[in-house]
């Protein structure tokens, strides 16, 4: 494993994440890669809980907790204020959940991207409003159980990666906790780019929300990649596609069968899901290899 954690210890133990939490793991890699000269913005989410109860913080950097809609706007405000004081070295990063990115926070994010705000925006995507008890968000995939879609979600997951790529931002990447070296490399790359929104969506399997054992976070995220549900790729400036880890022919049934949120699936459902995965992968393949990609 080529991953080297920079020993910054920016993220402290003693935080309140659930045992085995993928978001906590992601935060560890993200913050330790970004280093101490960083200011983070966090909306209401599991991330906010992990940030710590007053007067304690789990992050050894200034963290501002904002309202659920406002992560990107808040991050932009900080960055502009720093620039106005002549500080162009401090990194400003928004770390938001999928609810605060795909849904209520999307407007602010889209606008920040259009305005080319100099911020990094990382979405920790656990495919639902997990902090409030696993309700559906537009990041929830087809047929998954949530407490607001108990019979399974009828609509597919919104493709935030492609939407953000279409904003022609300098850097868009997908990542997940089962591949820490890939995630850290992408965070480092986002940090090295100056100007424009750098967006990374990190698939973070939620143990409680998805119904998987405490120790299966990284394993589940790898199955997501290897089955083609969540390929890992990068898009630069909206048109240069690089595939990092694509599907390895693992059937989607192997991915869904370990998650209780898919427990109700019939074989016909699984076939449907496989078709959806194959279709999405086909689209992405065309972009990666169909003449425009690296």
């Amino acid at each position: 494993m080529g991953y080297q954690i920079a020993e910054e210890n920016v993220f402290s133990s003693g935080h309140s994440a659930c045992p085995g939490c993928s978001e906590a793991l992601a935060i560890r890699f993200i913050l330790n890669t970004l280093g101490p000269d960083t200011i983070a913005v966090v909306p209401p989410s599991c991330i906010a809980i992990i940030s710590g109860p007053q007067p304690l913080s789990s992050m050894r950097i200034p963290v501002y907790q904002t309202t659920l809609e406002a992560s990107a706007a808040s991050a932009a405000g900080i960055k502009r204020a720093l620039v106005s004081k002549g500080n162009d070295h401090t990194t400003v990063v928004a770390i938001a959940g999928d609810g605060g990115t795909y849904d209520i926070g999307f407007q602010a994010l889209s606008s920040a991207a259009e305005r080319q705000e100099d911020i990094i925006y990382i979405c920790l995507d656990n495919e639902g409003y997990m902090n409030t008890g696993s309700q559906k968000s537009s990041a929830t995939p087809s047929m998954a159980y949530t407490t607001s879609t108990p019979a399974g979600k009828l609509t597919p997951k919104k493709n935030i990666a492609e939407i953000m790529a279409a904003h022609n931002i300098p850097y868009m990447a997908t990542a997940t906790t089962g591949y820490p070296d890939d995630l850290a490399r992408k965070v480092a790359k986002a940090k090295s780019i100056r100007g424009g929104v750098r967006f990374i969506v990190v698939l973070a399997p939620c143990l409680d929300g998805w119904g998987i054992p405490d120790k299966f976070g990284p394993r589940t995220s790898r199955l997501a990649v290897e089955s083609g549900v969540f390929p890992l790729y990068e898009v630069e400036n909206g048109d240069t596609y690089t595939l990092n880890y694509g599907p390895k022919g693992v059937p989607v049934a192997e991915y869904t069968s370990i998650q209780k949120r898919y427990r109700h699936l019939t074989p016909a459902n699984v076939t449907c899901l496989q078709e959806e995965v194959d279709r999405n992968w086909g689209r992405l393949q065309a972009k990666c290899f169909g003449g425009r990609g690296k």
Binding site: M1, S13, G14, P19, S57, S58, D214, K215, R222
Partner: protein
């Protein structure tokens, strides 16, 4: 004009959560644990295989040799002759092929010879002497272990040179004598007294006991078993071991054109191979079916490639004269599966009679120890010296191992028993032994499902190269090529290192609570932080090699 406020707004956060204890959340804690790898469990010499393979992986071949030779002083020899149960049990065999442990052992042994590495001298000199009767694998192993501890050791062997079955049994094309001699020299160079050409008898025991504080008997089994259908005294019917000794001495017995070898074990294959190299044809008749023959499949195939013929599942019933040659009349048989263990009961298959002409018959149906006058002084049972669990015979201070005391008849088992017997002797003589044989029932063994195969991209197992059969039979040169340096490196990398931490840092990396700290000074390299570990088990799951366990905790 002042711009400050009287009271600091109460909402800025200034402390950190690392003062909190989240360790109170858990019911069970992860522990780093050296577990037993199945190769280690199967190894007749209790070799710490994952450790030395890892050293090889890191290009520390001398370190690997030192680890190997803790348990086995003759890796170049064993790497050519061991029946490698380690590979059968290797977890990687359930993935993409077992690790080439045997080949790696040979490579390391050969490198030690090439590089001239030597064993470290004993740390102290003890004023106690032990006699080792028999300089074969068991004897050499025992002598080596005793000498390392500082005992004065004398090896007494009946043959002109040490090596026992390794020299006089295994042919040159399987184990070149130069390699064997080099390894024996390393052992003797520790300061062992060697007396060759001296055959000890039971009547010598009293004298030995006066001179030596303990005696180790390991003179092997060289009395050929006989089959009643082959009349003794006929010069055309030769004992297999006698034949091989003659080949070794350079004075093989006269052979007719068509040689028939009776037997299904390695010895029979070695004999057939030697016969072919001496320019004769060889036909092997084995009682067992090919799958059940004691010889390893590779050895059977090798000799068939070289031109031998095989009649397996066949039994010679009678032998008759025919124009100066022998006619062997036999029938195909099946072995009775209901026969008790250790008893071979062939059932003739009607209508499968055959006849084979033989100018020479070489018998290789097993051998027993020569115990004629040892029976007076030691308890003997079923043609072997009786020993207890500590390898002690019925006579105090007299120990025995190897073919003389065991029906196992594997070279590596002899080496292992030699070491274990040495340990008993050491403790018997009041010194600190190494304790148990290493395999404790308390320590779990790693199974394939404990391995996280994501971390091991598929990579094929490589075999050692072999000369082409046509090349091989021209003379007695070694037929198998050892690994190159690149091959050794690559193949060592395939080892999962089951249950043996190699500091890959996965446990450290995948903890969402940073509850694992690195500590290179600890034997297990890491500690789990009691204050923070929530007991999620990610470290266990992500450990590629099952080197972690769970400890339940009660509040």
């Amino acid at each position: 004009m002042a711009n400050s406020v009287d009271r600091v707004p109460s909402i800025w956060t200034t402390g950190y959560t690392d003062i909190l204890s989240t360790g109170t959340w858990r019911n069970a804690v992860a522990v780093h644990q050296k577990k037993n790898a199945p190769c280690y469990g199967a190894c007749p010499v209790d070799g710490d295989i994952p450790v030395w393979v890892h050293q090889a992986r890191n290009n520390d071949f001398q370190g690997a040799w030192r680890t190997l030779t803790e348990n086995n002083p003759i890796p170049a020899a064993i790497g050519r002759t061991c029946h490698h149960p380690c590979e059968k049990n290797c977890n990687r065999s359930e993935y993409d092929g077992a690790v080439s442990i045997n080949a790696l052992e040979q490579h390391i042994g050969d490198m030690a010879i090439r590089e001239g590495w030597t064993f470290a001298s004993p740390a102290e000199e003890l004023d106690m002497a032990v006699a080792v009767i028999g300089g074969g694998p068991a004897g050499l192993s025992c002598a080596y272990q005793l000498r390392r501890k500082g005992f004065r050791v004398t090896i007494i062997d009946a043959n002109p040179e040490l090596g026992g079955v390794l020299r006089y049994g295994v042919p040159e094309f399987r184990l070149p004598k130069n390699a064997l001699a080099a390894e024996i020299n390393k052992i003797v160079d520790l300061g062992i007294e060697v007396v060759t050409g001296r055959k000890m008898a039971g009547s010598d025991l009293d004298e030995l006991k006066k001179k030596y504080a303990a005696i180790f008997i390991a003179f092997g089994a060289h009395n050929p078993k006989r089959l009643p259908q082959f009349p003794p005294g006929d010069a055309r019917i030769i004992d297999g071991l006698e034949f091989l000794r003659g080949v070794r001495r350079g004075t093989p017995p006269e052979l007719g054109e068509q040689v028939v070898v009776i037997g299904g074990g390695s010895v029979a294959m070695d004999i057939a191979g030697s016969v072919i190299r001496l320019g004769r044809s060889a036909t092997i008749i084995a009682l067992e079916g090919r799958d059940a023959m004691p010889a390893p499949e590779e050895e059977i195939q090798d000799v068939l490639d070289e031109g031998a013929l095989l009649s397996d599942g066949a039994m010679v019933k009678s032998v008759e004269e025919q124009e100066g040659a022998l006619m062997l009349y036999g029938v195909e048989v099946e072995l009775d599966p209901a026969a008790p263990a250790g008893v071979i009961r062939p059932i003739e298959i009607a209508g499968t009679g055959f006849a084979v002409k033989a100018d020479t018959v070489i018998l290789a149906v097993g051998q027993d120890p020569e115990l004629a006058d040892w029976e007076q002084v030691l308890t003997v049972d079923r043609s072997m010296v009786t020993i207890d669990a500590t390898f002690m015979t019925s006579s105090a201070a007299v120990f025995a191992a190897g073919d003389v005391a065991s029906a196992e008849r594997f070279v590596s088992t002899a080496v292992g028993d030699g070491r274990r017997a040495a340990d008993s002797i050491i403790r018997y003589l009041g010194r600190q032994g190494e304790g148990s044989s290493g395999l404790s029932a308390q320590i779990p063994e790693v199974v394939f499902t404990d391995i996280n195969t994501f971390y091991f991209p598929r990579k094929e197992r490589e075999e050692r190269g072999k000369l082409a059969p046509r090349e091989r039979v021209a003379d007695f040169r070694e037929i198998r090529l050892g690994f190159s340096a690149e091959q050794a490196q690559e193949q060592a990398e395939r080892c999962f290192s089951c249950g043996n931490c190699i500091e890959c840092d996965n446990c450290y990396i995948f903890c969402p609570d940073m509850a694992i700290a690195k500590n290179a000074s600890l034997p297990l390299h890491y500690t789990v932080l009691d204050q923070y570990c929530k007991g999620c088990g990610c470290c266990l799951e992500e450990c590629p090699r099952g080197a972690m366990g769970v400890m339940e905790e009660s509040k």
